[in-house]
């Protein structure tokens, strides 16, 4: 097989985790070119929200990404609060931060589960999903929904925490922390997993910055940039946590960064519960914001996500631009894919944590 051939992986393919197409040119088993094609799941989200009032957009923002819906609705509310120029009650900020971190853990667990299937181990999938269920149950208790929470509101959160919430969260965290070791035993300490991830999809710090990688994928290349630390929102500047980085820049380092982030998230949630003050959780907001623009960016589980909002003084946004971390990470994927084997495609793309809902919008 000296001839090169193009292979279409997608839009219907087990590797894709959604609807997108990866065209790769292979020479035997080695990839010589790769071309990601998105657009199969385009809903016109940015245009659609121009016809919705400000509160109506929150559940729609939830649906940008099924994996980490909370961070997206939170990001939207953060942008809207900056347009409205209102301050959020402190208790609401603590609840939000705790929820964001719970969402981060459950998103990372789902990512781990997906990586498990991509690499051929259903055990990792089921263990990851089992652990994720703990956090979904907490969110059900809090706001009544498992995946699309619709819990953040402009100016606070929907409702106060239920009476036993703190105790339940502590209990879940106590259960979950030792179980991270089990997941690591399945991945880190399994030689085949290391064979599949170490030195695969390498990208160095300079390339990662030039290609606009963000989030765990960039931190795995040794760049210490976490918006929770460097552009703090909510109450992150009051909390004590580490930004997890690794220097290797390969799939294994990306995996390690995410596993470490789960531990850090557990730490953050504990601190939030400790420091959580009493008080109101929501303020009443006006219907129409003043004219103006606002930018909000947060550290999504997948990277840096940003919303730019233009208000023209009516009750509907004039324009809402979304910067999805995955869209940029995806366009950086050819740099990681080239030169690797075709078996590495699921490993590399799986570790990138693809979510097409936010990529295509």
């Amino acid at each position: 097989m000296s001839e090169e051939m193009w292979i279409n992986m997608g839009p219907q393919h087990p590797m894709t985790h959604g609807l997108w197409n990866l065209r790769v040119r292979v020479d035997g088993e080695t990839m010589t070119a790769a071309e990601p094609i998105v657009g199969y799941l385009h809903r016109g989200w940015e245009k659609m929200v121009e016809n919705r009032t400000y509160p109506q957009i929150i559940p729609l923002a939830d649906r940008l990404c099924y994996g980490s819906s909370f961070t997206w609705s939170h990001l939207y509310c953060l942008a809207a609060e900056r347009v409205f120029n209102i301050e959020v009650p402190e208790r609401a900020q603590y609840i939000r931060t705790a929820c964001i971190e719970m969402q981060r853990i459950s998103s990372h667990l789902m990512w781990l589960a997906a990586v498990g299937t991509d690499l051929g181990s259903y055990t990792i999938l089921l263990y990851g999903m089992r652990e994720r269920e703990l956090f979904l149950d907490l969110m059900v208790e809090l706001c009544g929904a498992r995946m699309t929470y619709n819990y953040v509101r402009i100016g606070g959160v929907r409702n106060d925490t239920p009476p036993d919430f703190e105790r339940n969260v502590t209990r879940v965290l106590d259960t979950f922390e030792p179980r991270i070791r089990d997941l690591e035993a399945l991945c880190d300490e399994c030689e085949t997993f290391r064979m599949r991830t170490i030195d695969i999809g390498k990208i160095n710090a300079a390339d990662a910055m030039n290609l606009g990688l963000t989030g765990p994928s960039m931190r795995a290349s040794g760049i210490d940039l976490d918006l929770r630390r460097h552009d703090p929102y909510e109450i992150y500047d009051e909390l004590d946590f580490d930004v997890c980085t690794h220097t290797d820049g390969d799939c294994y380092a990306r995996y390690r960064v995410r596993m470490d982030e789960m531990r850090e998230s557990v730490k953050i949630i504990r601190q939030c519960l400790e420091k959580m003050p009493k008080g109101p959780t929501r303020v009443k907001v006006p219907r129409c914001p003043p004219k103006g623009t606002a930018v909000a960016r947060v550290e999504d589980p997948r990277g840096e996500s940003l919303m730019y909002m233009v208000s023209d003084g009516t009750d509907k946004p004039y324009r809402l631009k979304v910067r999805s971390p995955n869209y940029v990470n995806l366009s950086a994927s050819p740099a990681m894919l080239l030169g690797n084997k075709i078996s590495d495609v699921p490993a590399i793309m799986g570790v990138l944590d693809m979510c097409i809902g936010e990529t295509d919008r």
Binding site: M15, E29, L119, T123, M195, R196, K341
Partner: protein
């Protein structure tokens, strides 16, 4: 059970006697010659052999189904779920699957090479079924026992890669082509270590028939103890030969949809899946036979029970390895085959020769 053949022989003698009596009873003179012929020795032998073969195949197909069931249930428990639920302990799931695949439409891709496409599946299924005949369950319960049964078995076993390669090629699909190439490369890479280990067993026992090999082990020692390296090598290669995780790259569903089986559907696919499990059973049987003393065991139950128990235990290890690992890559499997398993098997062979020349056994 040792009188299975004789029981069946008397049964067929009785049956044929009844037939001869019926023919005589018609009092048609020209049939009397046939009545005499029916009761002759060759006819009785033929019918007995046919009955034995039928019973044998039905038994072994049931074992194949048991293997599927066992894998489903054990994998379920390994992964903290329940496994199949249809019927008694989920055993009828296999029959449900069989009926389902049987009722499906048989589709041949338009651009496929029709003759080869059909032939490949039959080649794989037929060789797998043929192999069953070579494996005795006990010194009395077997279909054929040629002196070179081991060589015959290995020879038939190594025919499957051609079927897979042809099937992958003739499907006219890029995924199945790559899958077929991978399968051929992998099976050939692992065939050599297997043969080397088999040679060491032959050197030790001085016999090429299974009954002779197990007989030697009954007289002396289970070969697992002197040839432990060989057991490990054979076990790893056996997992690869039966195309199971972590060596299931020919059908790596993450990157290659379903590998070389992508275009097969309906009952052919069902039979290919069944033959996969039959091949797994054969590999387990070989491990049992060559290293674990076959049907050797205390005398309080039938020899067949010992043999099957050992086979199922070996298969349990297959499942265990499957749940604990992720799939590895083609180049890694080839490296493993040629650089690790082959030297190990040669070391094993040297040990066997040394033990034989030192006349330890």
């Amino acid at each position: 059970m040792e009188t299975l053949y004789t029981v069946l022989q008397s049964l067929s003698e009785w049956l044929l006697g009844v037939i001869a009596w019926l023919i005589d009873w018609t009092r048609l003179g020209f049939l009397s010659g046939i009545a005499d012929w029916v009761e002759t020795e060759p006819v009785v032998t033929f019918l007995t052999t046919l009955l034995v073969a039928a019973i044998y195949f039905i038994t072994l197909f049931m074992f194949g189904l048991c293997f599927i069931w066992m894998e489903r249930k054990f994998m379920g428990r390994f992964m903290d779920r329940r496994g199949t639920q249809v019927g008694v302990l989920g055993f009828f799931q296999n029959f449900a699957d069989g009926i389902k695949t049987m009722l499906k439409e048989h589709i041949i891709p338009k651009a496929a090479d029709k003759g080869l496409f059909e032939m490949a599946s039959f080649a794989i299924i037929a060789t797998s079924a043929m192999l069953l005949g070579c494996i005795p369950l006990s010194p009395q319960f077997y279909v054929i026992n040629v002196d070179l049964a081991l060589l015959l078995g290995i020879a038939i076993f190594s025919f499957a890669p051609f079927g897979i390669l042809i099937g992958g090629w003739s499907s006219n699909n890029k995924f199945s082509l790559i899958g077929g190439m991978r399968a051929a490369a992998q099976l050939i890479a692992l065939e050599i270590p297997i043969l080397m280990v088999v040679v060491s067993v032959v050197v030790m026992t001085g016999s090429l028939s299974f009954i002779g090999i197990v007989g030697w082990q009954q007289d002396n020692i289970w070969l697992a103890f002197p040839l432990f390296i060989g057991l490990i090598t054979f076990f790893v290669a056996a997992i690869g030969e039966s195309e199971r995780v972590p060596f299931d790259l020919p059908e790596a569903e993450a990157e290659l949809v379903e590998g070389w089986q992508t275009e097969y559907g309906g009952f052919r696919w069902g039979l290919i899946m069944l033959s996969d499990y039959l091949r797994a059973y054969i590999m387990c049987a070989l491990v049992t036979m060559l290293f674990l003393g076959g049907w050797d065991g205390p005398d309080f139950v039938w020899a067949e029970i010992w043999y099957l128990a050992k086979t199922f235990i070996v298969f349990f290890f297959f499942i265990w390895v499957r749940v604990a690992m992720v799939r590895i890559r083609t180049d890694q499997i080839l490296t493993l085959g040629w650089r690790r398993l082959l030297p190990l098997s040669i070391v094993n062979l040297l040990i066997a020769i040394a033990l034989k020349t030192a006349e330890v056994f």
